[in-house]
């Protein structure tokens, strides 16, 4: 047993030595695996780092590419837009130099003391275009039941220095507010009688006019002009006979505007039309003078967020006429100095986009018969089917303080007006 025990120890020792000789690294196995794992982790970290760098690089490339794509898309769309515009330009080239044209039809049916009437009031052809870099031109040719007339044809400068604009030809002179509106542009069917009698209807004038816009932070504009006469229906003075310069009519106007709040504004104007020496038609020997003054005041409530649907306008004009004019009486002709006053006031409320209603009061003296006057009271209702199609119902009550008034200017009257527009349609500043 002892031998065998010794033998066993010897064999064990031999096996250990042999094993160590045959597998020399087993003794360091634990350390080698850790190193290997460390190396593997380091390798993996390196690979991960490279992968992340690659991903980052790819993302950069991708964003750069998408940026380029965006740029290309923007450039392409811009180019497409330019091409589309070029195509449109080419397509419209044959008509590009034609002036803008529009036609306004104003017709009504009426019942007055004189009876009923389908009244074709006017078909007004408007034409406008630039003349050159220095001027533009416009014209309104008006056909009525009594004929065709050039209502306006005027050239206006566009490039004068010092805030000046000059206008020449036949135009509606810058006197007052409503006197220079074409009748179909008014908020009522008929021009107030005070304008018809004191100004002579629309302020049509053959002459020149210059406007100056003051360089102020608020709107302030002055007009001066010289013309043969003012008033389309003013038959007291000839429009065609040459005359001394003192017999011309000279106009001046000052117009300002203030925004009281974002939604409310006030506009004020004052006008003077003076004729230093008047030669009245039919009175070759008699002379005189005339000075017509006007003050106009307009208040507007236009809520910015709903100006298309709501609003209120209150407008008034007051005129004084001072003149010494020859008159024809049963006892012969004589000159008389006189002063007359007249004017109107109206209020109009916008009920919604399509409907508005208002009321007008007018006081109109008869210039040739001092003391004679007509008062009128006019409710009116307007239905806008669209911006270019309008129906208006108006009741007109006229009260004279004298006998023998024209039936068309007496008593109860009812009008139903239909106004339509085709073609180019621009909103003028003066008739806004």
């Amino acid at each position: 047993m002892n031998l065998s025990r010794e033998s066993a120890w010897a064999m064990s020792a031999s096996l250990l030595v042999g094993t160590l000789m045959v597998f020399p690294r087993i003794g360091l196995a634990q350390e080698s695996v850790t190193d290997m794992l460390k190396r593997q982790i380091a390798d993996m970290q390196e690979q991960l780092k490279k992968a992340l760098e690659r991903i980052e690089q790819l993302e950069k490339e991708k964003s750069a590419t998408s940026g380029k794509i965006d740029q290309l898309e923007t450039a392409t769309t811009a180019r497409l837009g330019e091409v589309e515009k070029s195509v449109q330009a080419v397509q419209s080239a044959p008509t590009a130099l034609n002036p803008a044209m529009g036609l306004v039809l104003d017709a009504n049916v009426q019942n007055t003391k004189a009876g009923g009437n389908f009244d074709f009031r006017s078909a007004e052809l408007g034409i406008a275009a630039s003349v050159d870099p220095f001027a533009r031109m416009y014209s309104f040719i008006n056909g009525t039941s009594s004929g065709v007339e050039v209502d306006e044809a005027a050239a206006i400068t566009t490039s004068l220095p010092w805030n000046l604009t000059a206008k020449g030809g036949r135009f509606l002179a810058d006197f007052g507010r409503f006197p220079k509106y074409h009748i179909h542009e008014l908020p009522f069917v008929n021009q107030p009688l005070s304008i018809q009698r004191m100004v002579g209807g629309e302020t049509q004038a053959d002459g020149v006019e210059t406007n100056y816009l003051f360089p102020t932070p608020f709107f302030l504009r002055a007009t001066v002009g010289g013309m043969n006469k003012i008033g389309e229906d003013n038959d007291r003075v000839s429009n065609i006979i040459p005359r001394a310069w003192s017999r011309m009519t000279y106009l001046s106007r000052l117009n300002t505007y203030v925004d009281v709040t974002d939604n409310q504004s006030v506009e004020l104007g004052t006008s003077i039309a003076t004729t230093p020496s008047v030669r009245r038609v039919g009175f070759p020997s008699g002379g005189g003078y005339r000075m017509l003054n006007g003050v106009d005041l307009t208040y507007r409530y236009q809520p910015l967020g709903s100006a298309v649907y709501q609003g209120l306008t209150w407008g008034s004009e007051f005129y004084t006429n001072s003149e010494r004019m020859p008159f024809e009486t049963d006892e012969g002709s004589f000159s008389k100095r006189q002063r007359t006053y007249g004017g109107y006031s109206y209020i109009e409320a916008k009920l919604n986009k399509n409907w508005s209603a208002g009321f007008q009061v007018d006081y109109a003296p008869v210039l040739d018969s001092p003391g004679h006057r007509t008062m009128s009271y006019t409710p009116f209702l307007t239905w806008y089917l669209s911006e270019f199609n309008r129906l208006r119902l108006e009741y007109y009550y006229l009260q004279n303080n004298f006998r023998g008034a024209d039936k068309a200017e007496t008593g109860n009257q009812v009008f139903l007006q239909w106004t339509t527009v085709i073609g180019a349609h621009t909103h003028g500043f003066l008739t806004r």
């Binding site: 940026g67 965006d70 898309e73 923007t74 769309t77 811009a78 180019r79 497409l80 837009g81 330019e82 589309e84 515009k85 206006i156 566009t158 490039s159 004068l160 805030n163 000046l164 604009t165 406007n211 816009l213 003051f214 360089p215 102020t216 932070p217 608020f218 709107f219 302030l220 504009r221 002055a222 000052l254 505007y257 925004d259 974002d262 504004s265 506009e267 003077i272 003076t274 230093p276 003078y289 000075m291 507007r300 910015l304 967020g305 709903s306 100006a307 298309v308 649907y309 001072s322 986009k353 399509n354 669209s386 911006e387 270019f388 085709i422 621009t426 909103h427 003028g428 500043f429 806004r432």
Partner: protein, 309 residues
């Protein structure tokens, strides 16, 4: 009578003197480029490009009906003093701007002159009518002008403004180009954000009062199924409303968008169909949340997303 005429000159002299005083006062601020923009969003983009070199003024406030801006005479002095005019174009401002330019006595900013910066140049226009006839309503012959609602097209607007400013003031071109680049980068970031944010809008069917929202809808995948207006600019007839109500029910439209229009008809349609009605302005700038172009589009997209969520 002559005496009175001479007397009336006294106040004219007073006003002329006053005008010269204002003229002198104005020269103090002559260092900055005076820009008048028609809408607040254009004014903001111009400020981003011109920075301290420009003094920008917007005519409209942003709450107005796009085609019903009141023609205020108080706009005239601002246009008169402007070095450049920045506008939407495509006849967006046709009902009020040309008449104001006629009396502003400022040749620099007239159509065709260098100071007339039309931001629609190069814009891919949608809804250009094939039939230009008023039987189709109050049309814009050159196409829908409400392109500012698309932020990608706004990049072209910014480029147009930078080009316009550089054309008029070449001495500052480098500054304008640098500011433009920075603004375009900022816009790109926002566009990416809006595209993610607007994911719920994709495929959403909507009705609009006036054809104002097609550019935004096109950008974010919304589908318009009709308009409250019978035709552009024409108020609806009872028959049209009946038909629209049927369409909304049939197509399951989720939103009715209106802006400066009267809320009466949208509310009536909502009561009959249950459609969600939201008021969003196509002008921007009318409240603190929309006082810059980016804030305005952000507010608009967020409001739409909240409405469909």
């Amino acid at each position: 009578m002559k005496m009175k005429i001479f007397k009336s000159k006294n106040w004219k002299v007073f006003f002329v003197s006053l005008a010269f005083i204002w003229l002198q006062a104005g020269s103090v601020f002559a260092q900055q480029i005076r820009v008048v923009a028609t809408w607040p969003a254009l004014a903001d983009i111009t400020r981003q490009i011109g920075k301290e070199l420009v003094n920008v003024d917007s005519l409209a406030t942003g709450v107005e009906d796009p085609h019903g801006v009141p023609m205020k005479p108080s706009f005239v002095p601002r246009l008169n003093r402007a070095d450049v005019l920045v506008l939407i174009g495509l006849e967006d401002e046709h009902s009020w701007l040309p008449a104001l330019l006629d009396v502003a006595n400022n040749p620099k900013i007239l159509l065709g002159r260098p100071g007339y910066i039309d931001c629609s140049v190069g814009i891919p226009v949608l809804e250009a009518p094939t039939l230009v006839d008023r039987s189709e309503g109050d049309l814009h012959p050159k196409g829908n002008p409400h392109y500012l609602l698309d932020p990608v097209r706004a990049k072209i607007v910014a480029q147009n403004i930078a080009a316009g400013l550089s054309r008029n003031f070449p001495q500052h071109q480098a500054v304008f180009e640098k500011n433009l680049k920075a603004y375009l980068t900022e816009l790109d970031t926002w566009i990416a954000r809006w595209e993610k944010m607007a994911a719920p809008l994709k495929g959403v069917k909507f009705v609009e009062y006036h054809p104002e929202w097609i550019y935004l809808a096109d950008r974010f995948g919304m589908k318009r199924i009709g308009s409250v207006e019978l035709k552009p600019g024409i108020e609806p007839t009872p028959n049209h409303i009946v038909q629209l109500v049927q369409d909304i029910k049939q197509d399951k439209a989720q939103l009715l968008i209106y802006g400066a229009q009267n809320p009466r008809v949208p509310q009536q349609i909502a009561s009959e169909t249950g459609i969600k009605v939201i008021r969003l302005y196509s002008g921007g700038g009318n409240q603190p949340e929309t006082d810059s172009y980016i804030k305005w589009i952000d507010y608009t997209v967020r409001t739409l997303v909240q409405a469909v969520s």
